[in-house]
Amino acid sequence: MMRWQTGVGVAFGLLLGAVVLSISGGGGSRRGLPPSGAILAECEGRLSELVIHYEPSAKAAVVPVYRDFLRALDRDVTVHVVCPSQAACDELGAALGDVRCQLIAVVVDHPITTWSRDRWVALAPAPGDGLTTLLSPRGEAAEEIWPARAGDERVGNDLAAALPSALRSRHSELYFDGGDFLADGENVFVVSRVVPRNIQHTTDTREELLRILASELKRRVVLLDESPDHHAGMFMVAVGQRRMLVGDPTLGRKFVAPATNTDDDSGVADGFMNLPGGVDFTPETQHLFDAVAAQCEAAGYQVTRLPVVLARDGRTYLTYANVLLDQRGVRRIVYLPFYQGAEPLNAAARTVWENLGFEVRPVDCTSVYRHFGCLHCLVNVLKREP
């Protein structure tokens, strides 16, 4: 039989425990997390450490892109190459030939895709803490039916294990792809498709989603009300000083050959660059790009439009926003995709970048755009130097 002293103690103990939990916030999920800074801005600082994936089955698609890009990088850039085997890393090294940047292999023992950008976002070290945090999503889209995507989910941990003195890995409470975010030094723009992936799955409301995003990314969050159903880097890029470049199908239309241009009201053109289903110039699609531009302007940005041509499948883009930006002193460099067979379009986009004062380093992305991504999607940034 329980003594009365024990009963009183249990009662006081439960009360004391409840008080402690109440005062401390109940051990909320943000408590106990290691410190981290803001999501890296994509337009500030010198490229220092990058991450790419190499999966041998994607050799034909990615090697031409990597060859152009890695050969154009400066000597002081380190590129970590995530491969499913040492043989894959050796194969890539042989295919690339001489490059000036330093390549470091990170061999993992599981399937991966070749798309590094979406796996994690880098959060700068917090003051007094030297570790960059790789924030991975809660899970990968379609991982149930896509084994390589299930493997992708582990890459943040793999990198942190390979570079323990520089990185830590953490999974977010939220579902996202790294490409769903576009950050500059002030704001992070978040594409609208993040909302249905999270509302009533990880968060109750849109307001709670915004709060968690702001807490995790430590930038002001601009959630795009309407945007093309793709990653942000496919249709917009921040270049600093509150200027945003946003794709514009109308500008791209000028460069689609008349023979393939649309001659009816459907807005669908056939033949150009073998885009699946033809080219999409529909008003509905144009509206989505214009809505992004309008929201950027409402957020205080000067908007410059870039030509873009996209396919009716909604996934395949000839985009010039999918770039890597590098700032070296006063020099501003853009690693800019181009596509063989679309030379007038390439030239028009290049002019936009040059008029903004960028040194253009072209990267041939002809082999990869049909796989729904481009240069920025293949390359993730671990570190930038001031």
């Binding site: 002293q5 051990g27 106990g32 999974h171 509206h287």
Partner: protein, 198 residues
Amino acid sequence: MKTKDLTTIVTVTLATASLTVMTFWSGELNAGLDGEKPTAQIAKPKLTAHGIEMTLATADGRTFRAGEEPTFDLTAVNTTAQAATAAVRIVMSATSPTDRMSRVPCLPASLWQQQQPLVLQPNETKVIRLAVPAKLPANSMVAVSLAEPAAAPAGAEATEPELRRVRRPGGAPPSGIVALNFSTAAPAVQAMQTASAN
């Protein structure tokens, strides 16, 4: 009260308080640390409109496979003390990977949609069975969305021109939810894909 009684009370109090805090806090301490995935998730996504809470489940908790025509139960609960009316648009869509090199899956293809009017008395709960006249495709991720008819259904404003037109200029952002997600990939197919990816 003797000193011994007081000692017992203080000891039991501290032990109980410690156990209470550890029990209700320890699961969260590790959330997100060291690359571990958070586990807490909303079990039953809910759309609320005009005081009516709507949830969706497969009929009788069944698991539907490729080739079957699924049946769902839409549960509508009027949480107010007044009669309430609303309508909900239910859309089932499917996505499959295109090829292993793709960055993202294809845009989801709409398989079926229906607009369901709801009229409920104060605090009434209704369960409406929905038989879908469409077979589930193999090796796909299937999503069933609920949305108010004025907005495009979440995650389904995709390939169909008639759905795209829902997002007209000046329209409100989508306010729907993905109520159900499931896969029709057979475990054997997944294992085979894993092996080939290696």
